[in-house]
């Protein structure tokens, strides 16, 4: 049993958990947490399926993950700014309710 094997299984389970959270969660911040959990799972999977060189994990796969991590935190930061402003304007922290307004 290799490390990669263990982490593929764990990451897959975490991915599933993230999907569950995304469906079930009502609070926007929890949806965002779920997305970040899913993202981490994807990053672990990228490293394990990206292959390995004699010098360790594939450097290209690692670079992709690093880029992915930064994009994720950028998107999260913007989403949080949006959530806070939405809450200030409407008092809501979820997307329930109707869309209409004038």
């Amino acid at each position: 049993m290799s490390s990669a094997f263990v982490y593929v299984l764990a990451a897959s389970a975490v991915f599933g958990v993230g999907v569950y959270g995304l469906i079930v969660a009502d609070h926007l911040m929890r949806k965002l947490l779920s997305l970040n959990v899913m993202g981490s799972a994807v990053f672990v999977l990228i490293l394990t399926v990206g292959g390995a060189t004699p010098a360790g994990p594939d450097p290209v796969a690692q670079a992709l993950i690093l880029t992915g991590i930064v994009i994720a935190v950028a998107a999260t930061a913007f989403a949080l700014a949006l959530i806070v402003r939405m809450f200030q304007e409407t008092g809501l922290t979820s997307l329930r309710g109707r869309d209409d307004d004038d």
């Binding site: 995304l22 926007l28 949806k31 965002l32 997305l35 899913m38 993202g39 994807v42 999977l45 990228i46 399926v49 990206g50 292959g51 290209v60 796969a61 992709l64 880029t67 992915g68 994009i71 950028a74 998107a75 913007f78 989403a79 949006l82 959530i83 402003r85 939405m86 304007e89 409407t90 997307l95 869309d99 209409d100 307004d101 004038d102």
Partner: protein, 486 residues
């Protein structure tokens, strides 16, 4: 020349965006306009090369794939770049008035707008799966930010939903990219196509990627985010979202399918994609018919019109490819016109509820005319770009005896006629009591300004595409996907 030209398309708007952020306010307008006006000079040398039937390739930093990233411009990419140029230039004309660069709102709008243009360019010329992921994220994030720009609750909700679904879709795409890289050792679109076998793992990776892209392309039933996102955004943003941003995902999907071995998914998968397209056409059109707000109606029309593109997968002939590429251009121009006209009417009337449109032709004739002309193209009535596109698509389906597709295409046009005529009829209707309601139209008035001019310009172009379709068809024909049926 071509290297400089390509670099110009990506770097000029990017540099302008940075300058607008840092420079004094009064510099924003000249800098932005200057950058926009350089774009044709980037596009022209590329056009000359592609017109000769060649492909422009630039290995970034001089590293060929699989090590590095390649920019590649063929006829399909060039067609999309031309669509981008036309839409972006005219919509910018609108934005110069609706988001004055020196104003508070303009200071928010223009940097995002310029970066969005640069990223759309970078996306269309990219031939690298991961680079496409980064540009797709950039386009999406800039799009979402611009929807929310006004801080209106409905727009922010729409932006939030778009963002969450978009991020989820990106994760699917990213995972698939890693799987393809693991199997082929390369991220270059074309090398992946050459190296990929049609084993189960490859198919699953492709399925994941297609699913992610279908969410980003808002194909029914994964379209739930689109109507509010496009319908509640500020006018110029709606226009560019519907004309360009949503199509970038379809563009990647077509690349993946016909250039990177996605067609290995088989006839069953192609049929499924086609059926989703048919569903989109019917559902989107019916939903548009039942809307009570103008911009939401136009947004649902986008859901329907995107469906036509999906018919390419089951038809898979060069005739269908020609038709669908033409359709993407024709719809882009017409829909941008429609959204600008709708936004102008909303601005002038204070609301875009359809009942408020009664009598709008008398005070806002230019915008109503622009909407109607664009509507002609959306319905696919001659003479218009939309007519040529749908006629070619009908012919392609007919030739393959795809009677089901023929029926759906015809039905789509019929339903489009219903929702377009509904708007036009209301606008031309006599107000009750016989006089134009003086209470409405507090803002804007009926004067002919650049915002109306922008809408009309695009609408006229949408019609002209029908008269002058030959050059565009000839261009598309210079880069047909490899190994396709005639």
């Amino acid at each position: 020349m071509t290297t400089e030209a390509l670099a110009l398309l990506v770097f000029a708007p990017l540099v302008a965006g940075l300058v607008v952020i840092a420079a004094p306010r009064r510099a924003a307008a000249p800098v932005a306009v200057a950058a926009l006006l350089t774009l044709p000079f980037g596009l022209w040398p590329l056009t000359l090369v592609v017109w000769r039937g060649e492909t422009v390739q630039v290995a970034l930093a001089g590293f060929a794939p699989p090590l590095g990233i390649v920019w590649r411009v063929d006829a399909l990419a060039l067609t999309m770049l031309w669509l981008t140029l036309v839409v972006v230039l005219v919509v910018s004309l609108h934005a110069l008035t609706s988001f004055p660069p020196a104003s508070e709102s303009g200071q928010r709008f223009w940097p995002l707008w310029l970066i969005l243009i640069a990223s759309v360019h970078a996306l269309f010329v990219s031939a690298d799966l991961f680079n496409l992921y980064v540009t797709l994220e950039l386009v999406t994030l800039a799009g979402v930010a611009m929807i929310a720009i006004g801080g209106k609750p409905a727009a922010m909700r729409a932006a939030m939903r778009y963002l969450l679904l978009g991020l989820m879709a990106s994760l699917f795409y990213l995972l698939a990219t890693a799987l393809l890289y693991g199997q082929t050792g390369t991220l270059d679109l074309y090398q992946v196509g050459e190296r990929l076998d049609d084993g189960a793992l490859a198919l699953i990776a492709l399925a994941l990627m297609v699913t992610g892209l279908l969410v980003k392309a808002a194909i029914v039933p994964l379209h739930v985010w689109l109507p509010a996102a496009h319908g509640k955004a500020p006018g110029p943003v709606s226009a560019v979202l519907s004309a360009l941003v949503v199509k970038v995902a379809l563009y990647i999907l077509i690349r993946l399918w016909f250039w990177s071995g996605g067609a290995a998914g088989g006839d069953g998968a192609a049929l499924l994609l086609g059926l989703l397209g048919a569903l989109a056409i019917v559902h989107g059109s019916l939903a548009a018919i039942t809307q009570t707000r103008l911009k939401m109606l136009v947004a649902y029309s986008t859901v329907a019109q995107l469906g036509y593109v999906m018919l390419l997968f089951p038809l898979a002939s060069t005739a269908a490819f020609r038709a669908v590429t033409f359709h993407m251009v024709a719809h882009g121009v017409a829909k941008a016109a429609m959204f600008l006209a709708a936004a102008n009417l909303l601005h002038a009337l204070g609301s875009d509820r359809l009942q408020r449109l009664v009598g709008a032709d008398q005070r806002h004739g230019v915008n109503v005319l622009a909407f109607a002309l664009a509507g002609v193209s959306i319905m696919g009535l001659p003479p218009s770009g939309g007519f040529v596109a749908k006629w070619m698509l009908l012919e392609a389906a007919w030739r393959q005896q795809g009677w089901g597709w023929v029926a759906v295409i015809s039905l789509g046009s019929l339903l489009a006629a219903v929702y377009v005529f509904r708007v036009v009829a209301l606008a031309f209707a006599q107000p009750k009591g016989g006089s134009v309601r003086a209470s409405v139209g507090a803002r804007g008035g009926g004067r002919f300004d650049t915002t109306a001019l922008a809408a009309l310009l695009l609408a006229v172009l949408a019609i002209l595409l029908g008269f002058a379709s030959a050059p565009l068809v000839a261009l598309i024909d210079r880069g047909l996907p490899p190994g396709m049926l005639p």
